[in-house]
Each structure stands twice: as C-alpha cells, then as structure tokens.
C-alpha cells in the first residue's frame, strides 16, 4: 500500500494555503499519495480567481503586511500558489471540495475552479481518505 498524506484545508489564509500546498507537493515528490480536503475558509480559495486572495494569518495589517511578505517571497523566488496547485495536480494529487461548506456559503460548482477539483464530498469522504493516511493534518 502506498503511504498517503491527507490535509484538511480549513484556513483560507494565504500563508497557510502555502503550507498546505508545499507539504502536499513534498509528499507527492517523495512518493506518497496526497489528498487535500478544502472546507470553510479554505474552500473560498477554490473560488474562481480566489487562490491567492487570502489574508496573512498574522500581521496582515489591512494588506500592508501581505504585500510586504509577497515582495520578500518574490525576491526569494518562491513560486506562486497557482504553480504549486498545477504541480500538485500534475503529480496526481487529489482535491476534494466540501459540499456542506458550499451549501452554507451558497457556493455553486460553477463558482469553483472545477479544473482543480477531483471530487465533491462531505465528512464521510474525508474519513475514507484519512483512515488510509499515514500523515493527517488540519491547517
């Protein structure tokens, strides 16, 4: 059985989306399977044009902190969230969108990046992923 990583992406903060995608790509690169379950604020990042729109989890300062961090990230040549997402998909990563969040927030499938989403599901889908996972994180 292949080892597997599952992450619940609950936060929509930019820095935490980076953490989730970097860890998930690392797992795929090192031969594991990886599934990301996007729920609550995390799901908003799967809305069209929303991937990089999240605030910083700390020192956001109405966007000043975020633009400073983005400048530093550019200088350090950190790749974009879009590229990390494309790499994640290319390496066979799975993206699950939380259907309950879609109901609560009134998000429709056509509002979401359907090109990225592998499947739609609720807690049962997540558990089926997580029970087979050797690493399971909540971000």
């Amino acid at each position: 059985m292949t080892e597997k990583l599952t992450i619940v992406v609950h936060s929509g903060d930019m820095d935490k989306i980076y953490s989730a995608l970097i860890i998930a790509n690392g797992a795929l690169s090192m031969g594991m399977e990886a599934s990301l379950f996007f729920t609550f604020w995390g799901l908003q990042r799967l809305q069209r044009g929303g991937l990089g729109k999240g605030p910083l989890s700390k020192m956001h300062m109405l966007g000043i902190g975020k633009s400073m961090i983005k400048q530093r990230m550019n200088k350090a040549n950190v790749s974009s969230l879009e590229r990390l997402m494309q790499d994640f998909k290319e390496l066979g990563g799975k993206i699950i969108a939380c259907e309950m969040t879609m109901e609560i927030m009134g998000i429709k499938k056509e509002d979401l990046r359907e090109d990225l989403i592998t499947e739609y599901g609720a807690v049962g889908t997540y558990i089926q992923e997580a029970r087979k996972s050797t690493i399971n994180l909540f971000i």
């Binding site: 790509n25 690169s29 790749s79």
Partner: protein, 73 residues
C-alpha cells in the same frame, strides 16, 4: 535509455523536489536524470526522495555552490 536534464538553479523549496519528481515520472525505466540546482536543502532532500522511491542515486557533486544530482530510474 536516455538522459534527462533538469535545471533548478535559483529555484527554492519545494520546486527542485517537484521538478525532480516530475522528471522521474516521465522517464522510462533505466533512464538517467540529472538535476542541477543551488538550493542547499534540496541537495540533501532529493537523495532522500530517491531512496524513498526505491531508485538508484548515481552521484552527488557540488562545485561553487551549484550541485548536480544524478539518478537512475
């Protein structure tokens, strides 16, 4: 059997690891993959990935801050 070259010079975490994995996936059995880069943590971590994937680490070289890792699928 062919040789695949991957240039990750100037790239930072996790790009060298990802690009190595992509190249390995595309390679055929027996192919040689040569990854070049400057990110220091990747020099240590790409061999870890090679081991985890059960592939052969042929060589790790470094000169003037630039490393070259050779892998056989």
């Amino acid at each position: 059997m062919s040789k695949i070259k991957v240039d990750c010079c100037g790239e930072t975490c996790p790009i060298p690891l990802i690009e190595t994995r992509k190249a390995i996936r595309k390679a055929s059995f027996g192919d040689i993959i040569e990854v070049r880069g400057t990110h220091q943590a990747s020099k240590k971590e790409i061999p870890m990935a090679v081991k985890a994937l059960g592939l052969k680490l042929v060589d790790v070289k470094e000169e003037g801050g630039e490393w070259v890792i050779t892998i056989q699928k």
